[in-house]
């Protein structure tokens, strides 16, 4: 399988705080990579670096073999290929759900209006929110907003999707409705990098797991092995913190 | 600028300053009292009274103080209600300010979350205790920025008192400009006295506002 995303030895620092040091990671087409780790280990920052929302101090990030960084001239074109969904379902509050979905395709891709609308409605239907197309974000529950945010990212036909703790701000009963959508995308063969605390979900969705702690990747590997037979003490300890026995 | 002129004018301004300050603060206290009563009437939907209160708020928020003062000072005597100028100034300011204070305090009352009330009720407080010890203090602290802003606004509004021939700061300044043409001195003194009147309140207001914000953040 061809490589889509290649992260080579990147380091991220704020003044004298090191968020992560010399991290490398490759993501192949169709692969679902799930990143876990204790709070504050820099996993969200890593996603933000991939999307050039943060700059890096060392190393490089390549998408389809092209280097991306915050000063790239064609940053906006690069970002079209990367869909990102954040923890705080940040829909545009002044636009209806349908307008939220259509804004970027129409303005960035100059896509055909009719086609875009058709696609938006189909996707909304798929996540069970067709009836909300003319509502405003404030009229939706957190779980509904997050599903719309996922659809909004899909509308740009991204090559890779980044999910940054998308269920962290949700009530427990809404977590599943959002993760079900992500799972169905995984089964479709979408390329995704997911940061999450939901271990059950990680296990179900991941092709490959990555564990970050202390500013580096401590362990990575096949999902089944990762959970059933962790190699490092740190990962064992981390995984134990999620169970009650 | 002529220091001689300043020295000569100073006592006149001092007197006017005291009058302005006194009338202004009496008006503000009045405004506060009216504001609380009106806010209660509206918040608790007291029958009849809440309707009257709402009409009062809309009427006085949507008309200028100068017009209100003219009405009280020049029009009311025609139906047998004569009020001396200084009382008129304080009452006018109180009525105008009452409508603004009411809005501020009411939105404070409305902003106290229901969960607060419920948790207090769960502790066994009576409705009255709940209001006195929980809802009202919380509402007031939410309203503080609005109240401070209103106090500053009302102190500034005192500048129209001269229109009903109260010998306030504006009146004194206008009088002296008209009489002796010492425009610069008269204006400088006017500005200085208004700074003395308002700057402390403004600074105090900023400090209080910061504190309140910190407290709410500290949750």
């Amino acid at each position: 399988m061809e490589t889509i995303l290649e992260i080579k030895n990147i380091s991220k620092r704020y003044d004298d705080i090191t968020v992560f040091e010399k991290i490398s990671l490759t993501v192949k087409r169709g692969e679902v990579v799930v990143i876990v780790g204790p709070s504050g280990c820099g996993k969200s920052t890593l996603l933000r670096c991939i999307n050039s929302l943060e700059d890096i101090q060392e190393g490089e990030i390549l998408l389809d073999g092209v280097v991306i960084n915050p000063t790239s001239k064609d940053l906006s074109q690069v970002r079209e290929k990367i869909g990102m969904v954040f923890q705080s379902y940040d829909l545009f509050p002044h636009l209806t759900i349908l307008q939220n979905l259509m804004l970027a395709p129409l303005k960035v891709k100059k896509a055909d209006k009719k086609e875009t609308k058709k696609e938006a409605l189909e996707l909304l239907d798929r996540v069970g929110l067709l009836s909300k197309k003319d509502s405003y974000p404030r009229q939706l529950s957190g779980g509904q907003k997050q599903r719309v945010a996922i659809v909004r990212a899909l509308m740009m036909h991204p090559e890779i999707l980044l999910f940054d703790e998308i269920t962290a701000a949700l009530d427990p009963e809404m977590v599943k409705e959002v993760l079900d959508v992500v799972l169905s995308l995984a089964r479709e063969g979408r390329t995704m990098v997911i940061v999450t605390h939901e271990m059950q979900f990680a296990r179900a969705a991941a092709d490959r797991m990555v564990f970050i702690d202390g500013a580096t990747i401590v362990e990575e590997g096949d999902a089944k092995e990762f959970f059933d037979d962790p190699k490092t003490d740190r990962l064992r300890k981390f995984l134990r913190s999620f169970s009650y026995d | 600028m002529n220091p001689e002129v300043i020295r000569e004018y100073l006592p006149l301004y001092k007197e006017a300053f005291i009058l302005t300050l006194r009338t202004g603060w009496i008006g503000i206290l009045l405004a506060f009292a009216i504001g609380i009563l009106v806010a209660f009437a509206i918040h608790f939907r007291v029958p009849v009274l809440s309707k009257i209160a709402s009409v009062y708020v809309e009427l006085f928020r949507n008309t200028p103080l100068l017009v209100q003062l003219f009405f009280i000072y020049f029009a009311l005597p025609k139906i047998g209600l004569s009020i001396p100028a200084e009382t008129c100034g304080a009452v006018g300011l109180g009525l105008l300010g009452g409508s603004y204070m009411a809005e501020g305090i009411r939105s404070g009352l409305d902003a106290v979350p229901v969960s607060q009330e419920e948790s207090a009720l769960a502790l066994g407080l009576t409705k009255r205790q709940l209001f006195t010890y929980v809802v009202f203090p919380e509402a007031m602290s939410i309203s503080i920025p609005a109240i401070v802003a209103n106090v500053i606004f009302l102190l500034k509004e005192t500048s129209v008192f001269s229109a009903i021939s109260l010998m306030d700061l504006m009146f004194t300044a206008k009088d002296l400009i008209g009489l002796y043409y010492d425009t610069t001195e008269a204006l400088v003194l006017l500005v200085v006295f208004y700074i003395i009147m308002l700057l402390p309140v403004s600074i105090l207001g900023s400090i209080i506002e910061k504190r309140v914000r910190l407290r709410t953040l500290g949750g």
């Binding site: 999307n51 929302l53 906006s76 970002r79 079209e80 990367i82 869909g83 990102m84 954040f86 705080s88 940040d90 545009f92 509050p93 002044h94 804004l103 303005k107 960035v108 974000p137 404030r138 945010a149 909004r152 990212a153 740009m156 | 809309e58 009427l59 928020r61 949507n62 008309t63 200028p64 100068l66 017009v67 209100q68 003219f70 009405f71 020049f74 029009a75 009311l76 005597p77 025609k78 139906i79 500053i152 500034k156 509004e157 005192t158 500048s159 129209v160 001269s162 229109a163 504006m170 206008k174 425009t183 610069t184 204006l187 006017l190 500005v191 208004y194 700074i195 308002l198 700057l199 403004s202």
Partner: protein, 222 residues
Amino acid sequence: MGFEVLAKGNNAMRLLEGLGVAMRISLISVVISIVLGVILGVLVELKRPFIMAFFRVYLEIVRIMPQMVLLFIVYFGTTKALGLNLSAEAASIIVFSFWGAAEMADLVRGALGGIPVIQYESAASLGLTRIQTYRYVIVPQIVRRMIPLSINLITRMIKTTSLVMMIGIVEVLKVGQQIIEANRKSSPNAAFGIFATVFLLYFLACWPISQLAKYLEKKWEN
């Protein structure tokens, strides 16, 4: 009760014309305030220390100086200091714009600062350029926050125009006084009828506008 003077001659019409003067002054001032205020607000948001310091002083002056005092300074002071004979109407437009621009700038600054960073980020991650982000995401949100507040500024301007009679502009209150003077003999109670009418006129001018602001604020709150 003195309402009968309104029916005499063209008294009612004159009062309305007086109100027209007040409305004209406030509308011109509001337009100038919005234009200057938006420019200044954006400049302040750039957070250059010099601009920030200037703005703080400017804002504090407007915050504590009564418009009446500013009117006196501009109207009487400029004549004296610059030997310039400013018309009363020009003086009042200058003062109201000076005041309004400060308030607008503060509102613009607050609205700009109030848009969460994530809104910029999510627009960026959808591939919108900086200009597109402002054009389609940020500015519409700011406009929605600003419009009700700007409308409120209009009503406050209208109310404040009542002050301009104090520097000799013949607006609705002044016309009212003139009518009362002229009919002192024939309608001794004219003061009641006239001032009650002026009160009502101001209310009718301001109330619908503030209701509109309230309605829009409700409609657009997120």
